[in-house]
Symmetry: C2
């Protein structure tokens, strides 16, 4: 091993899967990398500091090329959002020492080609905001909450808002933005601890543990006796079916994620869509990537809210790349409390 050669642990994607992701769908690989190697033109060598575990990554484990993002490549490291430090740059937009966020590999060091380097974002390192927040509050999940709530839900002050997976990476910001907008907000989550977080720390008006409800329709009728104006749907499945029965006339459903269905090759059908007609409901799927023109405004507004103490944000931080497979798999069992992040290296 030469002076500039260092160990580079990786999390390898073993191959396409059906059903719920398991730790054995990934494996650790131990190799080395030359830090002073000649990079391809305009490429970057990054040291990865934080990696993000996000449910959408499940979609990349299928052998399906028709989606908005291609599948993972078997036998290569997984890819995901990360916060990284530039070690070597052949790209005029970045220099050594810069902090960046964007797609990187599930490994300690990554070489980023020119095409992918164009999609990276330089982080203005503000010491009042944790760097890892660029994977959550100020990253893709936070922007998903922002774009979905303001652009898709068309909220009005005083409206009744329901958020599922409410303590998750997206849901916790949706609920807080809705409160700041003057809405009444109820969240659902899958444990007593999460429900307490929603009510005690995140300012939700009410919250409930869906696993303790035998009848989701009845639960929603209890929390929304007058009906729901806005449902921010992170889960799909039975909760969506129950919400359809409890929407108000001209209600809106932002379809953000269907984690309850994402592992099922034969998902359970939604039966109550006729509610769409007689209640004139708008149900709209969205991706944050369609709203990137709003990203600078989002960053400014949400950073400002955070620094003023108007919003908080909870992370579930795992230590070390080797913890990544379990943390990712845990998403699909509701193990994370808040945004799931992996600390690969200290800043």
């Amino acid at each position: 091993m030469s002076n500039s050669e260092v160990a580079n642990k990786q999390v390898i994607f073993k191959g396409y899967i059906d059903g719920v992701p398991k730790q054995t769908d990934m494996e650790l690989n131990f190799s080395n990398i030359q830090l002073n190697q000649q990079l391809p033109p305009q490429s970057l060598l990054l040291k990865n500091l934080y990696l993000s575990c996000d449910p959408y990554m499940r979609g990349r484990m299928r052998d399906f090329h028709g989606s908005y993002i291609p599948p993972f490549v078997p036998s290569q490291a997984l890819e995901g959002f990360g916060v990284s430090k530039v070690i070597v740059s052949d790209n005029p937009n970045f220099k050594a020492g810069d902090f960046i966020s964007g797609f990187t590999g599930w490994e300690e060091y990554s070489i980023i080609s020119i095409a992918k380097a164009q999609q990276l974002r330089k982080i203005e390192h503000d010491h009042h905001i944790p760097l890892s927040f660029h994977l959550g509050l100020l990253g893709m999940p936070g922007f998903t909450a922002y774009a979905g709530f303001y652009e898709v839900c068309a909220p009005k002050s005083g409206e009744y808002v329901f958020v599922s997976a409410a303590s998750g990476a997206v849901g916790q910001l949706v609920g807080q933005l809705a409160k700041l907008h003057g809405c009444y907000v109820v969240g659902s989550a899958g444990s007593k601890e999460k429900v307490e977080l929603l009510k005690e720390k995140l300012g939700f008006d009410e919250a409930f543990n869906y696993k303790e409800e035998l009848d989701l329709d009845a639960a929603l009728k209890r929390y929304f006796p007058q009906g729901i104006d806005i449902y921010f749907d992170n889960v799909g499945g039975d909760m969506l079916d129950a919400a359809l029965l409890n929407m108000k006339i001209h209600g809106r459903i932002a379809v953000c994620g269907m984690i309850s269905q994402s592992n099922l090759s034969d998902p359970k059908g939604i039966s109550n869509l006729s509610s769409l007609i007689y209640k004139r409901i708008r149900m709209e799927g969205f991706l944050q990537s369609d709203y990137l023109h709003l990203f600078p405004k989002f960053l400014e507004q949400v950073s400002s809210y955070y620094k003023q103490g108007k919003i908080v944000y909870f992370e579930d931080m795992n230590e070390g790349l080797e913890s990544a497979p379990a943390a990712f798999v845990g998403l699909f069992h509701g193990k994370n409390v808040g945004k799931q992040v992996i600390r690969v290296a200290h800043e």
Copy 2:
């Protein structure tokens, strides 16, 4: 029977039902009515000329009071859209001899209270347009097509449009409006005769008989190799599920009716809603009654198209009130070819 007493046949709603409507859910009643009776203040006595059979009426046969329209009253005549002639008026807005359209009874003569008289519309009798068209092309179904296509679907010239139940009261106008708008239009229907009507008379680019397709997904892929921009959904169920798989990015689904599901107390679920997310689809239920401010513009534009020969409209006309129960039941078996109307009396 005095001089002014005449026979008044009625179709009586026997009681709330489950499942598909049957002729035996209704019965004929023979009574008499005094034509020179003293009416309650501001009421009208109508002679009904044409009655409309519409699928939404199935919803009024349930004992469910939470919808946009109340259920029928057992042991009374059914209610529906009709074209009628005013015989006696105590209402300053109408005079004897006027032709009107709006809610009336399934009977030869109806007394309309002040509250219901306010919702009637006087018809300017234009001899170039059949009176019965005020139940179809120029009535609720036509306006449903107009509002749904222009306001909900947000169509652009050159887009790919799919219409189910395409030869029906609503679908036939949707397809023709889409063609006039510069779209490529494919319709589905349930018989060879209807498919020919779509292609030969209604100007659809293509049409297919869904009953001859073993795999609706494959059928849509054949007719829309590039995908669907707009799906005007009149049926729900399996066709909706297949359309979800074939929508283009940023596609729109106007949810107008779910006749395939309207008889089922346990409707089959829709499994492909995750397409909403990755294709960013907007799916919106609507009722024409939310767009009534556009009705005068609709009436002018569609009447003008019709008189210029730019659109045509097909009715399925049954003769006599006694044919009404079978005609209504036939809707749910796809028996009607075009808009189903009952002629109760000649003009």
